[in-house]
Amino acid sequence: MTQVVHSPIAGRSPGRPEPGFGGITRPPRPAPTPDPGPPDFAAIRNSPEFTALRRRLRRFVFPVSALFFLWYLTYVLLAAYARDFMSERLFGSVTVGLAFGLGQFVSTLAITFAYVRFARNTIDPRVARIRAKAGIRE
């Protein structure tokens, strides 16, 4: 579990490891009393790191959501109103409609893994930096 130990975004974390005897770092201790109170959410939200995080996330998820929604809608509309086209045989008895349907499976998996990659490379490090700055020990 994570624990909030200090509020100001630019402040020092009181729970950070102190150099011990002979330079051996001791494990961090729990925050000293009294409880420093909740993090300053307004300050975090107005920080450039946070606005950049929000912008990056939205710039990925909104267009991609619109994309898969339109792609799905296209497919549904074709199935409903373009029956002849969807019934054309590609090879053997495999129809265009079936290929389109399998295409939805492929696009769903592709978007899933693209998002995982994006989140791992772009979102998670930013979140970790903001959390560290807010004084949260992982």
């Binding site: 975090i44 129809t95 998996l109 899933t112």
Partner: protein, 531 residues
């Protein structure tokens, strides 16, 4: 008309074996539930299993919660009988998870603790918003549950050879009581393990059947499709869209309405949302969805093969003549390729599916009542955790009893539309308000209330004046006709109504969203700070 039923009963193997395999599943799961549930006294343990599951475990559990009997028996049957149109269901059910992955899962995990109401009420006035969230949760859970329990009746007739209504009622009651035991003894932790076990068996079972079927046709999809068309009453039409929905302009529109409800509904289903709280953080919530997407992609691809395989090897005429109609396609196919043993396994899996899904719905509904209604509205946030859990358990018993009674009363009714309807409710009332509260700073209490009640209300109103209720041969009241709305699924109207109502409610309210709470929610939803 007894001949078709006796044919089905005779050809469907040994009820004793079916019961034995199912009994084995129940024994194993009850043992696991008993072993994992040492303490269930805190609210966090009971509602969210202490948030201690990993993403992969929760992903499999989500698969278990989501793949209902409608998914397994219903889709396989729809593909076997109507061909391509049944496949469209699978695609909607799967693509819907992208909404959860991209827009909902991680933010909901970071913002809430136990229920959907936690997220919606975060920066709003607590009592009215929680009341709305609980109403929506209870309505959706009840409709979804009724569909599952009523399906159990038909399954009993088919698989256990219990033809009398009294005997079926008895079996439905037993299934309901086992389910209540899971929830009471295991809480969320035990229920999650039931989902994991069930999902593993279900996916393994359909994959093995699929590989076997493909092997039988020399791994040629085309050969399988040819054979399916040859043994289906609709012939080549089953390879093309429109066999079921293409008849008139109305049925096509109905199909589009259904498709919208499917893709937008999954991320608003309360029992799915609640699963995200069983993992410790947003990263694990993301992993959950990825595991679920992969497991379900495999599952839905397999149902395509199983559905066409049932048409090819069993034939649509024989499926429709059996006592379970479309729903019996997968069991009949299992019997055809694996004899009584495989049928026993498939029968047990089907029962386990109903059992596990209803357990998931029950714990969600009881959590929403205890957490949103009892603790937040009645006790104004001053309830003892132990008392709250006690209320949740009692609610679970009441809901379980309602499910049993509802299942017995609805047995034999045409309730297949209920699952699609639950998705329409979820898409109309929950998704719009969730997205607004997560992404729209100005959204306020009145927006939540208008969006939620507007979506729920328009859904209920449209369904009550639709052919589902009256005016068609398959209606609940087939003798009278007061239908005004031509579509069976209200999604195409009610989803936009809900988004519009949420917008208008916000704009017409002079109430300002609390800026401090708003900042807190925004930071918390994206970073998890404060959880």
């Amino acid at each position: 008309m007894t001949p078709p039923q006796t044919v089905a009963a005779e050809s469907l193997g040994s009820p004793a074996l079916n019961i034995t395999v199912f009994g084995l599943f129940v024994a194993i799961t009850l043992y696991v539930v008993y072993r994992v549930s040492h303490r269930n006294t805190s609210t966090s343990d009971y509602y969210a299993a202490g948030s201690a599951f990993t993403g992969s475990q929760n992903g499999v559990a989500i698969t278990g919660d989501y793949l209902s009997a409608a998914s397994f028996l219903g889709i396989a049957g729809a593909i076997a009988v109507h061909g391509y149109d049944g496949f469209l269901y699978s695609i909607g059910f799967l693509v819907a998870w992208l909404v959860a992955l991209l827009l909902v899962a991680e933010l909901v995990r970071n913002t809430g603790r136990f229920t959907m109401g936690d997220v919606l009420a975060y920066r709003m006035r607590q009592r009215p918003v929680r009341a709305a969230a609980a109403t929506s949760t209870l309505v959706i859970s009840f409709f979804y549950m009724l569909a599952q329990m009523a399906g159990a009746g038909g399954l009993v007739a088919l698989l256990l050879d219990v033809q009398g209504k009294g005997g079926q009622a008895l079996v439905i009651s037993v299934v309901g009581l086992i389910m209540i035991t899971y929830v009471l003894v295991g809480g969320m932790k035990g229920t999650t393990w039931v989902q994991i076990i069930k999902a593993s068996i279900l996916v393994l079972c359909v994959v093995l059947m699929t590989v076997f079927l493909l092997g039988k046709f020399g791994f040629s999809i085309s050969a399988l499709l040819d054979e399916a068309a040859a043994n289906n009453a609709q012939g080549q039409d089953v390879l093309e869209p429109g066999a079921q929905y293409g008849k008139t302009a109305i049925t096509r529109l109905d199909f589009i309405s259904l498709s919208l409800a499917l893709i937008l509904g999954a991320a608003g289903l309360p029992h799915v949302l609640m699963r995200f709280y069983t993992v410790p953080n947003a990263l694990q919530a993301r992993r959950s969805v990825v595991w679920a997407v992969v497991a379900m992609a495999v599952f839905y691809l397999s149902t395509l093969v199983i559905g066409y395989g049932a048409s090819a090897l069993v034939g649509s005429d024989k499926i429709l003549a059996s006592s379970g109609k479309e729903n019996s396609a997968a069991p009949l196919l299992a019997f055809e390729i694996g004899g009584t043993v495989l049928l026993g396994v498939v029968a047990a899996v089907a029962f386990a599916t109903i059992l596990a899904v209803v357990a998931g719905l029950t714990i969600t509904a009881s959590a929403s009542f205890a957490h949103d209604v009892y603790a937040s509205i009645i006790r104004r946030g001053r309830a003892e955790p132990a008392t709250e859990v006690r209320v949740a358990r009692r609610t679970a018993v009441v809901i379980g009893m309602l499910a049993i009674v509802g299942g017995i009363l609805a047995n034999g009714q045409n309730v297949a539309f209920l699952v699609a309807l639950a998705f329409a409710f979820a898409a109309s009332a929950n998704l719009s308000t969730l997205l607004y509260s997560l992404f729209w700073r100005r959204f306020n209490t009145r927006g939540v209330l208008w969006g939620m009640y507007g979506g729920l209300g328009s859904c209920l109103l449209l369904v009550s004046v639709s052919p589902v209720v009256s005016g068609a041969p398959t209606s609940i009241f087939s003798g009278v006709d007061f239908h005004l709305f031509p579509l069976s699924n209200p999604g195409i109207v009610s989803i936009p109504v809900s988004f519009l109502a949420g917008y208008l409610g916000t704009v017409f309210s002079r109430e300002q969203a609390d800026p401090a709470k708003q900042a807190e929610m925004e930071v918390r939803s994206l970073t998890g700070i404060g959880t």
